[in-house]
Symmetry: D2
Subunit: 410 residues, 4 copies
């Protein structure tokens, strides 16, 4: 028998794919430690652990990354108003850095020469995981079975995997396979592939898992307030029952709860994957949808106009693209973050919201500490210190260039 | 009596302010022609005309600009996904260029040395009108009474205007003044000032005029399809009753109708006026909200990734800012428009939508002519021509820079 | 006699204009303190002080701001590679914030209600000074005589000022007035107006003051090295005579010296003033031209590609525009500065330069601490760790999108 | 003997590498047609043709692309002020699209299934050629020997190639190999690799081929004028001898001539290759350096401020990056080109230049047709129509936001 090639830390989900990969890696004479990240997905971690050990994993790590996920990734994304191609709130992208970082930490601790994952060769996640691995540990070696011909040619479809699982005594849950794939975490769930690959096909009502259908949501709105400091949510208050939450993880989970029951956060998009293929995805991002709307609204009250324009034009799209394309651990993210944080210094205040059948309606906002909004100055009825004659000069000066252009165009 | 100072073309609304301005201009020894633009606002134009003539206008023009407004301003804004500060769809800004252009055309025809308007000195509209005037007719002279001390000091509030109206026999409609101001056109209505100046104050339910409250909207969704060519809407079909519309103006009015009855298009924002004052505005943009959502969605299917990213980062915010700040007639707008139109060459296809209690839900999209989306290539289940090994190289090359950075940061 | 209206701190130069302004302010019943900033211009400060006191100034401040100018303004501009309209190195703009800040500090100390300056109403400097005043002390009142009709109508030209000076016993230096205006500081000198207003007119050889004509510069090149830390120059070494300088102020003065004798730093430009008027300016920026070339070169070696691209596209032009337009004291400058400083963390190393008859020639660069450049990896002759097969995949993946586009365009 | 695998169109230079590739392709049972592009490099095309035929090429194409190169690539790059990383004028990048396009046209005409080239696997040119191939003919197959293990492992260095050449009777010119590589075309020559891989090493004086050393250039300046229409050079006049050129190709060659003899256009840079490796390059771009300086200068006179700022911030860097990264044939280039051309509508006029020992000195500029510059308006001595009071209002309005910020920061 050939000697052991080395120790691999495999990102393991408990599902068919990564179970077969685990068995296959063992077959290829690797030692395998399984790694599971709890980023808030619905999962029976203990059952998966037992399964991995049964297949032959030396050890299994289950890491609860939920708090770090909220504080390190989700909240900065809210500060940035991060969004991809005008619609997608980056839920899958956001979980990747936190998972990869933890995986590399354990790989170092366990002295693994290799890390491995079950991502396909056509998607974004392979890029996100591996660029993070390389940035965090430049000498790590990556085993990506779905890009290795001897693996993907051996397992051309689900049937081949099932046969291999049977051969290796890997238990397979006897559920009917849904005609789409999902990826879930605390921030969102994604649906893609299968019947969704026809972009004209309307997703079936029973696909959506995290949120109630707006048509089935309560007929009576729910009202909450969210308070921010430096663009970070600090407190949520439910005006109906007085629930008040301040712990970041609990706060985010609570926002998920109220958003879910009010049908908030569904989207359907054809997006451009990093590798240049167009792809259709459906997503539910309940709490994140509320937080983004509230944060954007508050910024209207407390952020300087020029800072907002610059942040919107430069930081938001670049930061979002970096997340989507898997370049979170990079000098450019640190570069962008510096100005982003500077922009958030004044984002302090409270936003009132009405949640109703899919709608997040802003009903008012205030800030005790930031006074860029001035009711008297703003007033159309009160003149205040404002001298209307100044506007005359302002417009005249702005007109110089345009008159010149107008003359030269005549 | 002093001689006539010259002929003024006054943008006239029939309301108290511009009626008093008309009378005051006559008092100042100007000859005044009144100009009214029909951009789709609810207005009794004939009554206003008679009123202007009674006050002393030499002539009254009523120009129906609705079709031009839709084709020249609203549709390009849809092509650009125009939006200001992430929220405001620019409804007031969009009507200004079309009104100013027509006003200048008539001023030229009528040989007016002056144009005048009733905008306040604190707002955006004075800038938008006057920069348009100057660009289109650099030698025009503008009379802006609310910036002339002898006018605004004489009329410090509504009471003074009412007294002057009484003195001049100007009829005043005996309605209770609403505690906010509005500006309406085919695209939207705005509400600001009065009680809205407290940004924490929730607008009263009876303020909203164009749309039904989502809570009162039908319990059954309505489904429509919108077809675009080069980013311009060509056809709307109602899947319920089969209504089909293709004429641009009728199409837009019809979208307003279905949006209004389904409670679509309300927003509430604290925005930054061009002159640097923060201001709170509420807006209803029923049809425009549907069109924008549909257009953005279709672009996912038919627009190249890089073109989209560049358009989103550069054209959309700059084009929107130019509209907001009143620099529509400018070399920079022509500059931006060139690439915008280039980007829209492939924006051909159809989007299916569900309208329900404030929500615009995309349910699918397709294009017969643009084939950038490829189901087989996109598929996670079918390998197609795609070689997973290529992704290996792609990631490795992207990793070179990040590994170097990772090493230098260790 | 009417009572004193208040105390004014006047930015005073000792020249005809500000001397007349001083006399006129006294005539208008203000108390006047004169303020002179030493930002490195050639000036007899003591003579000017005496003159101001003779005219009637209560007190005269002479502030040596040279070191602060170098450290607070010039060096950050070098870090940003600041440049306006591709050509102008912003010499005048850079001195304004430092002068205004000091003037406001003294105004506060001396309890002045007013500040005043001698800038014209058509230029950029009025904007730069006054926006700085307003940001630093929002309640300050500004007296800008060249914008006050009773002043500028009384003094329509130089003759009127000379007559007024004679009347007030203000001594006027009997030099022939040069047919252009200048503004000088440690960083640069500007020439504008007069014969230069014809943009086709070549500036006369004797106009240029700070640098020797390249045609008259030494026939033998001079060689120096400049070392940077975090983008800030730390040391200059002259390879000819071994001169070594490390003190920031002395270092910058020394760079001026070597640049001047080698004819480095002249430019001639038609630029766009902030108020929308085109204007022709000639400038000499000797030391700054060398520093900018060296800094840009070093960044090639030590700055990450993406950080460079983002900094170049966003920070450099915005930071430059802010300086030019007088918005240095602003939230947007703080916003941009955060990422700028982040980008400079790795800008450590040394650049070798040859100076010769107007040319700044880079002859090599190195960094002991930043190792992003890797000779083996870079080598076309040595394969190193690099796997050429990876490039295959990289190109194939990049080709996916372009093939699709190529097909759809056929 | 195995059957012929198909017909290849090989980009052939006549040098050792592509001669060996030609022989190797024949050995691999391909039919090979050789393709040579004349883009202005110094080359004995006829000798190379004979050599290719002797080695076994079925046919040899020599295409004179010089005029197309100037008109289709160089002039648009001048319109865009294209530059990479602040320094590099993109000389190699610019020739690639024109070469690839012609190669694909012949491949189609000759019914070739394959194209091939001699680029290394570490450089930019492989990307530039192949992405162009794929965009222009999506089904083309590319043979890139330096990325095929059986090729590059067989020929690990120059000695192995020489041995193979000897074996195949390929004549090798007996010159001493220079310790760097070059790539030449009408626009520039590049030097890289070899001793240049040490970025601190100063290039030897005898490396530079296209330009005389500034130290050896004439002691008397030469003066020329260049006229542009829509940003395209139309005429060059030499003020010394009256030479006047208007044909685009001749005009560019003439600019090269005068630039070369005056030592203009040398640079030395550490740049970031597209694949993420830093690399040192030296370049000479004689005529291009003059044209770029003249074009930028003229734009000061005739381009609107906002258009210039937007073009500079967006089009210039993106267009340059696209060229560098080999994405010339792409929807994004067409997108950017639309606004670029729009911006150049007013770029009409003449620039006077002095050429002297490496310096390109602008001595004046004028435009008969574009009148955005206005001497009276610009004048600091003449008031003209300008009302200084307008500036008062302009500054006051700009101050509103900054005062608010100043107050909130106190």
């Amino acid at each position: 028998m050939s000697p052991i090639k080395g120790r691999v830390l495999l990102a393991y989900s408990g599902g068919l794919d990564t179970s077969c990969i685990l068995a296959w890696l063992l077959e290829q004479r690797y030692e395998v430690i399984a790694y599971m990240a709890n980023v808030g997905q619905e999962e029976d971690f203990e059952a998966a652990k037992e399964k991995a050990l049964n297949i032959g994993a030396t050890k299994v790590y289950i890491e609860d990354l939920r708090r770090e996920f909220v504080e390190e990734l989700i909240f900065p994304a809210i500060q940035a108003n991060a969004i991809y191609e005008n619609v997608y709130l980056l839920g899958t992208s956001l979980s990747r850095p936190i998972i990869a970082k933890s995986q590399i930490e354990i790989a170092i601790r366990e002295n693994c020469k290799f890390v491995s994952h079950g991502c396909t060769g056509k998607g974004n996640d392979q890029v996100r995981f591996e660029l993070a691995y390389y940035a965090l540990k430049p000498d790590i070696e990556v085993i990506s079975p779905w890009r290795i011909p001897e693996f993907y040619e051996r397992f051309p479809g689900r049937q081949a995997l099932l046969a291999y699982a049977a051969e290796k005594n890997i238990p397979v849950v006897q559920t009917v396979k849904k005609p789409w794939s999902t990826d879930e975490n605390l921030f969102h769930i994604s649906y893609e592939a299968g019947i969704l690959e026809d972009p004209y096909c309307t997703p079936p009502k029973d696909m959506w898992k995290l949120t109630v259908d707006p048509e089935d949501a309560p007929n009576v709105p729910e009202r909450i307030s969210i308070s921010f400091e430096k663009g970070i949510p600090q407190k949520v208050v439910n005006h109906g029952d007085g629930t008040t939450i301040t712990d970041p993880l609990e706060l985010f989970i609570y926002l998920n709860t109220v958003a879910r029951r009010n049908g908030i956060g569904r989207i359907d998009i054809v997006e451009n994957r990093f590798i240049g293929i167009k792809s259709r995805g459906c997503y539910e991002t309940p709490g994140g949808t509320i937080l983004r709307a509230a944060h954007i609204d508050l910024e209207g009250l407390v952020l300087d106009r020029q800072v907002r324009a610059m942040r919107d034009q430069f930081i938001t799209p670049q930061f979002s693209q970096i997340l989507y394309n898997g370049q979170y651990f990079s000098p450019e993210r640190e570069f962008l973050l510096a100005s982003l944080l500077e922009s958030q210094k004044t984002v302090n205040g409270e936003v009132k919201l009405k949640l109703y059948k899919g709608n997040v309606v802003v009903e008012g906002r205030r800030s005790d500490t930031v006074k860029l909004y001035d009711m008297e100055e703003s007033s159309m009825d009160v003149q205040g210190d404002f001298s209307p004659v100044d506007s005359e000069g302002f417009i005249k000066i702005l007109g110089i260039r345009l008159k010149k252009w107008g003359k030269s165009s005549l």
